[in-house]
Symmetry: D2
Subunit: 338 residues, 4 copies
Amino acid sequence: MIIVLKKDEQAETIRNITDVLANNGFTHSVLPGAKYILIPVLGDFTTEDLGRFRSFKGVHKILKISAPYYLVTKEFREKTVVDLGDGVRIGDGFCTIAGPCSVESEESIREIASLLSKSGVRMLRGGTFKLRSSPYSFQGMGVEGLRLLNSAAREHNMKCISEISDIRNIDSFMEYVDVIQVGARNMQNYALLKELSTTKKPILLKRSPSATAEEFLLSAEYLLSGGNENVILCERGIKSFDSAFRNDINIASVPHYKHISHLPVILDPSHGIGVPTYIPAVAESAVVLGADGVMVEVHTDPSSALSDGFQALIPEKFLAMQKRISQLVDFVHNQMDS
Amino acid sequence: MIIVLKKDEQAETIRNITDVLANNGFTHSVLPGAKYILIPVLGDFTTEDLGRFRSFKGVHKILKISAPYYLVTKEFREKTVVDLGDGVRIGDGFCTIAGPCSVESEESIREIASLLSKSGVRMLRGGTFKLRSSPYSFQGMGVEGLRLLNSAAREHNMKCISEISDIRNIDSFMEYVDVIQVGARNMQNYALLKELSTTKKPILLKRSPSATAEEFLLSAEYLLSGGNENVILCERGIKSFDSAFRNDINIASVPHYKHISHLPVILDPSHGIGVPTYIPAVAESAVVLGADGVMVEVHTDPSSALSDGFQALIPEKFLAMQKRISQLVDFVHNQMDS
Amino acid sequence: MIIVLKKDEQAETIRNITDVLANNGFTHSVLPGAKYILIPVLGDFTTEDLGRFRSFKGVHKILKISAPYYLVTKEFREKTVVDLGDGVRIGDGFCTIAGPCSVESEESIREIASLLSKSGVRMLRGGTFKLRSSPYSFQGMGVEGLRLLNSAAREHNMKCISEISDIRNIDSFMEYVDVIQVGARNMQNYALLKELSTTKKPILLKRSPSATAEEFLLSAEYLLSGGNENVILCERGIKSFDSAFRNDINIASVPHYKHISHLPVILDPSHGIGVPTYIPAVAESAVVLGADGVMVEVHTDPSSALSDGFQALIPEKFLAMQKRISQLVDFVHNQMDS
Amino acid sequence: MIIVLKKDEQAETIRNITDVLANNGFTHSVLPGAKYILIPVLGDFTTEDLGRFRSFKGVHKILKISAPYYLVTKEFREKTVVDLGDGVRIGDGFCTIAGPCSVESEESIREIASLLSKSGVRMLRGGTFKLRSSPYSFQGMGVEGLRLLNSAAREHNMKCISEISDIRNIDSFMEYVDVIQVGARNMQNYALLKELSTTKKPILLKRSPSATAEEFLLSAEYLLSGGNENVILCERGIKSFDSAFRNDINIASVPHYKHISHLPVILDPSHGIGVPTYIPAVAESAVVLGADGVMVEVHTDPSSALSDGFQALIPEKFLAMQKRISQLVDFVHNQMDS
């Protein structure tokens, strides 16, 4: 951290600041410049520390040198693979997570699981406790949905994932799913993050549409800091002024997370884009961008879906995409110059 | 809702759609145009309905006519006053809510309550369970903080407000505070909203920095739809690409909410702007913009604050602002032409 | 500027950098820290300098201390008043600039000038060379429009302003208008800015919807750096993800410009908001926020306007607003505590 | 266009509107609904028409059915290839445009041209009249730069491109470059667009960081509407609240333009991302996303570059990327299932 003061601050002001630093055991120095006086201070600082110093009399600005996270970075660990058992390993190869937006009935979830399994998909997704911006929308099948999702996955030797919406349902999720999804709207629900951080359960953390990349990684740091190392990052875009798409997935965000962090990164084009036409090309590009997988919505009959049907792929489109992804993974991982 | 199809869609496609509409009891008509065929459909539609129809084969786009909320609008009710007792009424006159970012000790909260009370403030704020983006930041005093806040408020015949961060703490908040604040990060924590909607406790709902005005009003609709009519809207800005300010409060947002909704609207310049220099002018402008009040952070010694000290006003600045606000309220409400 | 290197960079890397600094005459020092090495460098740096140093081998990041503008700041000058003659002074009191979006005919511009003049307005606005995002929209009356605008203004002892869209038309604007408006789309048309900077003609510079506050002030710096001191800043909002409004005017932007700069600041709620309902309250709040005036569109018959009629005020609404503004100006400037 | 009125509007209000429609020759109908009255109107409407109708008394909102462009769409033409001669065809295969940010000297531009040519690059880029946000930054070599760029390109049988910043320099650009670049800051400089639209010169139009996809396509429509069919779209991102990157390139924007338009689409990761580390992966993903090429900055010594050196690739990184791109192009275009 560097504290910046205007050149013309009085000696007393500077002494006040350096006294506080000294009293709190911070190593620092004072550098007079042409227009500003710089006080570099050594140590790891929380955003709260930065805020406190910013309010000192005479302080012009505070410059932050390092990001306030550590456990998520490659300095802490080179690579994380989240091992779900039975050969399903997130972070080791390219993983397609697929399924309907919501579990709607036993019959439909079994049908889609069967279809996906045949195309090589090992991870089944399905919403059970839906978070809807309108109180008048379909709210999900709840625990019964979790049970049906689990059962459909097990039938085909698949693993399953569903989104938690209420901290009081953790036990049910621990029982029925292999990965708990923390959705975009709960990315900063710290009570939930803390509770999950004390388990060993794999967590797929989605970026909030209003979170900077740094805030997203800080939420992952919450999970790691409590002792849970099985964290998967999931990018699904942020809000932008252009309404051409549902959200705005930055084309460089996957390379950015992979550059900074050891955690696996999944791209979610379904929620990030919201227009099925573009989903296959974007999912395929994820291979080249270095993602560890994609999560897509598939529905056998999107027009009858009880939620978000408009963004689901029909099986025919999904299967074609899945085939192209396999070809690309093989080419990019095994045949291209690196 | 209007379903738009391209002119060259086949008769069968159109019949498929109109059949579904008819089978589901929707009144509709079919209007052939030069380049498009329009199918206006009567009724109230959820976003989910819109999504489902969007995925029909042949549909070019869906046009939404009315916003998917109702209870928050002036069509439902003309005006809401949230009455906290002892003459503290939000939505009837201009209300200043003030206090430190966090309750830090019994002594400090009593000191600030005394000071604020003397300047006419009737609502004391203070964080107790803090939501921090870094897991390494100060996390608040918890229930003890609630008790101290309540006690300091009662000593001066004030009402108090604090932010809830965990649905499992509702009982403590019901006991100690007069208004429960649902913060920006929990604006779409629907489990929490639903639970609070079944109480009669006044709720101050803050806008998430990634929420559109429509999404913000939909979260208020959640609270109203469960039966809780004591809802207060609080604007604190959205994220923008300009880092000159902490967030971006749209200058027209207060007039916009007051135009659409019967609910009281509070402006929070402390979190919305984050630069104390600009807070007084912005808080004063809230009077002219038609807000029902402001919520500001005040700290007797910002540089020692355990959180967000940089954005708190010192008492001297606060008292000057409070005096100017009183003068403006009197002038705008009583002396100006309307 | 502070150059930040990782702690483990080799001595040779550091020497390379300090050699370049020394060879270019930059005073600097080297500060080893716990995780980083800091090299503070004295001097005024352009963004280009920052970019160049950022690409040095071993550089982790570059921290900027001061904004790259100077002539626009209060350090350079305390206050600028743009004097248009005949008692019309922008930056001294509160100024309302009003008129139609476009000059449409001699009759209509004379009618509106007469009406505005009677309510005390001294500055007439009117588009002549329109910049439209669609090539199929009305493109303006051109030089004939300038002549009519000038003539209507002179008839009522008013000054006039119109927006320039083509650098090749500068001579006509010099002849016919008192203030040349550089619109949002040309805020970074540097060829135009440079040409205008060599004149003494008053320039009203509008903020681009994609410009940060810093970029906006840098464009003003372009005008000042060429020798033209008669610059007026005009805020009209930026793009945001919320489509409730045409643009997003940050409530703190006027106080921010006034805090940093000596230049007069005008608020344009018509283009910034785009919804006539909210324009009066926002224009009135500009008085409290410290603006030097507002610019609003007024049209005697918005529904027949050839451009942007939807955002124009009808005369009745404008006159009521103008009366309230006068009352507020008198109260805020003369009667309130400061 | 559909005009929406509230159900309770009086018959007279409706008649006023339908009279105007009838008098102007618009075919329309009137559809009473439960809460609203809909008036669908046939025809192509400019944004200006929409604005005018929005200001009619009684109008609740105007719904737009079709985007206000036509010539850029696939309905007008299936595919455009911009043929530059000598076998350089943009829109037919994948094209890499490369070169320094600025032409800095005869020696350096010849050196880089030679290096690029050997790796198969056929298009040389280089800035000559720079547009810099600071008036104190390097402004480019001007016409002499154009001449050097042209000469270096011709020496290696390459084509060249440079950005125009002043409408008065069109003749020089016509003489020296094969493609005129209209940069992001001039995307809505309509005087310039109109002038260029009357030539046959190929134009590469960059998206403004504040333009929606629709506004970007409308600017291309300007060029086409004047008769110039040789237009190339170039995506380089928009502004967002996340400062992790220079700009925000939506991962779906290339598929979106290709879906709507017949024009070739080039991705510019250098300006769009600004961090060299991520440029190769992003440029390679452009192949999978369906782009017609990429434009990247390359500099033999980024740390001595006179502008934007920080975002340029060094030759070694560029050559590795170019090789991987070639492999991907061959695989994706020739070997994958489509």
